[in-house]
């Protein structure tokens, strides 16, 4: 079976195999039906299949009677912000985020700029599966589309959320790897607005991804080299659509993507104690940091929509996930790597601390991640079997998203990916050797 995921985070697949124009057309038409026509924003990342999927989406939306504003290539959070100021009823982001070059996906945004939540996504899927869509007749159908550039407004919003004057005075040296993605249009401009000396790499939106668009130490070698050579204060790595952020310290050390949220939480909670919202799969270091600041942590299932809802419900001061996605509520309630950059640079400017020193004082746990490819029709059965094994051993577990087992030396979390046909295992312990043992422990039980 070939990979195609139709689920609560949208529809995602490989172009040329499962992700066809008719699928994109019908999903767009279903979304247009769900919003009863309405004004819809469309944006995309830099993948070569973007124009093809864009045309399919425009066609489906127009057929459903929608009014369309095309934002071209831009970060997804830029579009999410624009939903408000362009007075739209929703948006579609054409991006497969951190997935490889040949993938693409549709992500659905509602009228407040947040992703559809689980029950809204279920409604959309029902409409899609039922296949009965709104069809505008010739008098109603829109004969043209509007265009808008969401980047200036995004920067304006970011400027209001941070102490720009303080940052500008420090003239920080910042290296940034845009991965030739949508952030090529935002990140260098935002850093220049902050008065930084910017060392940009991979900011050609017409070129292929130079490496996997997933900011983690294995993809940040080039950025590390630039940080060292340019004696930068910090290095930032983007994914394809501006949600996830990776960090390289002033010493040129790449941080685990789990550390992005840890660092952001430390910065945030020092200023203002409050609730941090993160998913069940993210490092326990967040709890350690929170307790130092008298703050608390709320855990949700994996996925941005849950983080947004958690922040709303608990009036949180920071949201984020171990994948490197950070939500700064002052900007908006969705992952935004540019907002994370603002938060971090503001702190560096105000305190003159070095990232490398800060990281030294953060709790560092050994986190291991491992993916197991599973045939799509076996994905949830495998998970269910793992749960049975755990139950038979008399262990207690948390089933908020997959199966999370807390053991004396650490914890293990096993879940089905929302976006690919894989089982994700994540384990964490104080020491690496213990983490390896936990991973083996988990894999043994998955094999059963």
């Amino acid at each position: 079976m070939k990979p195609l995921k139709i689920g609560i985070t949208g529809v995602r697949g490989i172009v040329g195999e499962t992700f066809t124009p008719e699928l994109a057309v019908e999903f767009a038409q279903a979304f247009g039906t769900y919003l009863d026509g309405g004004r819809i924003l469309v944006c995309r990342d830099t993948r070569p299949s973007g124009p093809m999927i864009r045309s399919a989406v425009l066609s489906g939306l127009l057929a459903a009677g929608c009014e369309i504003v095309d934002l071209g290539v831009c970060p997804t959070p830029s579009m999410q912000l624009a939903v408000k100021w362009l007075e739209a009823d929703g948006g579609i982001a054409i991006t497969a985020g951190h997935n490889p070059w040949r993938w693409n996906a549709l992500k659905f945004v509602r009228g407040d700029g947040l992703y559809l939540n689980a029950s809204q996504a279920e409604e959309l899927l029902d409409i899609f599966h039922q296949g009965e869509f709104l069809k505008a007749n010739w008098k109603v159908i829109r004969s043209s589309i509007e265009y808008a550039d969401p980047i200036p407004k995004h920067i304006e919003t970011l400027k209001k959320a941070f102490a720009v004057d303080v940052i500008r005075k420090r003239r920080l040296v910042v290296a940034v790897d845009c991965c030739n993605g949508a952030c090529s249009f935002l990140s260098p401009r935002w850093l220049e607005t902050l008065g930084c000396e910017v060392l940009v790499l991979n900011n050609d939106p017409g070129a292929p991804f130079p490496h996997a668009p997933e900011p983690k130490p294995t993809t940040m070698a080039q950025l590390c080299a630039i940080v060292k050579a340019g004696r930068a204060d910090i290095g930032f790595a983007h994914d394809a659509d501006g949600e996830r952020l990776g960090i390289v310290t002033d010493l040129g050390e790449p941080l685990s993507e789990e550390m992005t949220l840890a660092l952001a939480a430390e910065i945030r909670l020092r200023k203002q104690s409050g609730t941090v919202v993160t998913n069940v799969s993210t490092t326990q270091a967040i709890e350690c940091i929170a307790s130092q600041h008298g703050a608390n942590v709320v855990r949700t299932p994996v996925g941005q929509a849950y983080i947004s809802e958690g922040l709303l419900e608990h009036n949180g001061v920071l949201g984020g996930e171990g994948s490197g996605g950070i939500t700064v509520p002052e900007v908006h309630l969705t992952h935004d790597s540019a907002a994370a950059i603002g938060l971090i640079l503001e702190h560096l400017a105000q305190t003159a601390e070095h990232v490398s020193d800060m990281v030294q004082h953060l709790p560092r746990l050994a986190t291991l991640k491992h993916d197991v490819a599973v045939a799509p029709h076996r994905l949830y059965s495998v998970l269910q079997e793992f749960r049975s094994v755990v139950e038979q051993e008399g262990l207690t577990y948390d089933s908020i998203d997959g199966v999370k087992v807390t053991l004396p030396v650490g914890w293990v979390h096993v879940r089905a990916s929302n976006t690919e046909s894989i089982i994700r295992i994540i384990v964490e312990a104080k020491e690496k050797s213990k983490a390896v043992e936990l991973l083996d422990w988990t894999r043994d039980r998955l094999k059963k």
Binding site: I14, V15, G16, E17, F19, T20, P21, E22, A24, V25, E26, Q29, R47, P48, S49, P51, M52, I53, R54, S55, A56, L58, S59, G60, L62, A63, W101, R102, W103, N104, K135, A136, N137, W138, K139, V140, I141, R142, S143, S144, I145, P208
Partner: protein, 452 residues
Amino acid sequence: MRAIPTLKISISGVRGVIGQSLTPRLLTRFAQAFGTHTGSGTIVVGRDPRTSGEMVKHAVIAGILSSGGRVVDIGVCPVPTVQLQVRRRKAHGGIAITASHNPAEWNALKFIGPNGLFLDAGQARELLDIYHQGEYTKVGGDEIRTVEEVEGATDAHIKSIIDELGPLPEAGRKLRVVLDSCNGAGSIVGPKLLEALGAEVISINTTPDGSFPRPAEPLPENLGDLCDAVKKHHADVGFAQDMDADRLAIVSEQGTPIGEDYTLVLAALYVLGHERGPVVANLSTTSALEDVARKFDCPLFLTKIGEVNVTDKMQQQNAVIGGEGNGGVIYPRINFARDSLVGMALVLHLLAESGKTVSQLLDQFPKYTVVKERMVCPSEKIPAVLKMLRQEYGRFPLDTRDGVKVTLPEGWFLVRGSNTEPIIRVVAESSEESKAREIVARVYEQVARCIT
């Protein structure tokens, strides 16, 4: 009786009603089938200004890109401009998005081969087979090609006409023309061409916004505004285009529609006066064309109805001019397509060169009146109707290549089923209007009796 379907998939393309049968899914699949058929090459896409055009265009672009094609998007333009661009660019094909004379709620895809001609019957069947089989070429996400948005395709079209025919001679009086573009694809390019030729232009219905100020077919009964404007402005001629600007109808200086059959007659009169050679038309064409061909001692070939049949024969015979009785003029030196722009240029040159009025030009030849009728007819009844006519008129010369054409002493008539609608058409021509009406009335009654 069951409802008449609003979707028509045939060898002349796919046609349907927006908001009902012509869905983006269907369109994007057809475009994938076409991309597969053309072997993932460059495909030119143009559209008429119908309100659904943008929706249809994007479905088409997505389908072409998915099948590995490269898209040249030339925007809103006449169908012949798409055909010209296909040839100019040596593209692998083209898709014209237009339901030509159908009302505003319709739209359609017309498929063009690498030579700028519409797909012939065989190629169209291959395309339909691929569409129905549903297995399309799909290129990987890293190999998807690009969309090139081109402006100025219509300017290139104008230039090719001026380059070939030249502007109108300066010596004469400036010709005054009223143009009715039906708010269609000819709205912008039509007036530009006429000005480039050196005519004085008065335009009506030249806002290409997808609204239909009159029924799109340039039939005499739809041209009231144009006739009035010609009289009011004392114009030398009135031109009426259809929505996709392939067909042209003419209104004389007296403000009278001369009948769309006569467009080709006047065009041939000019072309044959400069270059003798074969003339090709379909078998539903007025005898006046025969008279013109005879005057210049040129052979006339009549084909089955359909642009493809005419262009095929034209290539075969190396024809100098051809076309269809519905106002479609094909002048191969410029474009192997029905082209209202070329038609206007030829007729204006004729007027300028001869110094005569439209009425004077027509008066040189015997007058014919064409009468057309149509009736709803279930397709399974059509063979019986044709058989009845063959028997009933067996003693007269018959042409049965496309329906039944009967040559009577007082004129001729043709009965055939439509390719695009569940109707049967009756056309008759005679040198006297009353006779033509008589023939149509008689045949209509015979057909009606046969159906019921």
